[in-house]
Symmetry: C2
Subunit: 155 residues, 2 copies
């Protein structure tokens, strides 16, 4: 599906957030089957081009694999927040069967990130750079919230 991306130099694959996500995904590889695969391959399913996105129907239940990828994306955000602030963040996701939902990340008593999800079937990013920026944006949001309401985050 993304061989074009793999043949070209995978721009954005060195983005710090993308690296955090690769680590999370590799941590799930209990049998070592991805050990020799390049990073770009391990997270290739996060890249969904505009055309691919349009071709994915949103009338049925989202694929469990997509839900897994969404979860891992927010786990990576949580870990990146901890690296950036020294404070643990925990994600909670609530999904309807139709692909709508909400994910929040909390640190202490503070909601550091809140995101509405819709059309989760089509979850993905144009390229690794966009993936990295999307994750980093959430990390920055969390950092700003923690800076503003430190007492609540430390509660």
């Amino acid at each position: 599906m993304t061989t074009a991306t793999l043949d070209a130099p995978a721009s954005g694959i060195d983005h710090p957030f993308v690296k955090a996500l690769v680590r999370i995904i590799r941590a799930e590889d209990s049998y070592g089957s991805w050990e020799k695969l390049p990073d770009a391959h391990v997270i290739k399913d996060y890249i969904v081009t505009r055309e691919q996105r349009r071709a994915i129907p949103i009338i049925e239940d989202p694929d469990p694999d997509v839900l897994w990828r969404v979860e891992k994306f927010y786990s990576a955000v949580a870990i990146a927040i901890e690296q950036a602030t020294g404070k643990m963040a925990s994600p909670m996701m609530k999904m309807s069967h139709e692909g709508f939902g909400r994910v929040i990340l909390t640190t202490g008593r503070l909601v550091v990130v809140v995101k509405s999800l819709r059309d989760v079937h089509r979850f993905g990013f144009d390229d690794f750079q966009k993936l990295g920026e999307a994750g980093q944006k959430l990390v920055e949001e969390a950092k700003a919230m923690i800076a503003e309401f430190t007492a609540v985050a430390d509660y």
Copy 2:
């Protein structure tokens, strides 16, 4: 199971939190099948005596009915928080299959209630009074959090 409770005057059934829970449960009664039943009957499954609790095995997946009751309990807490503070609270629950989990209630960017759940299979209260007190305790906790961190709740 709880006929003893029903024959006796159902002490605690007029507790404000218990009334809120009854309203929530009755709101689910789309076919009007509980219309003529007394409040104590509608929420009778929330009462689990010490002996009954001990008899419930916790080795299998919790009954979906129990999970439903836990959800409605926290929905009632959310509504009671809104009545007490004028601010909306939304619950999110994350359960493992083994009956362990966590529920949080958020108002704006503030986590007003956080509760670890375990042995959810045995979720229930000794009597209506205890049920009312348990819900009210969470409402008071939320009120105190909102009073202390109003800016975060209003964010």
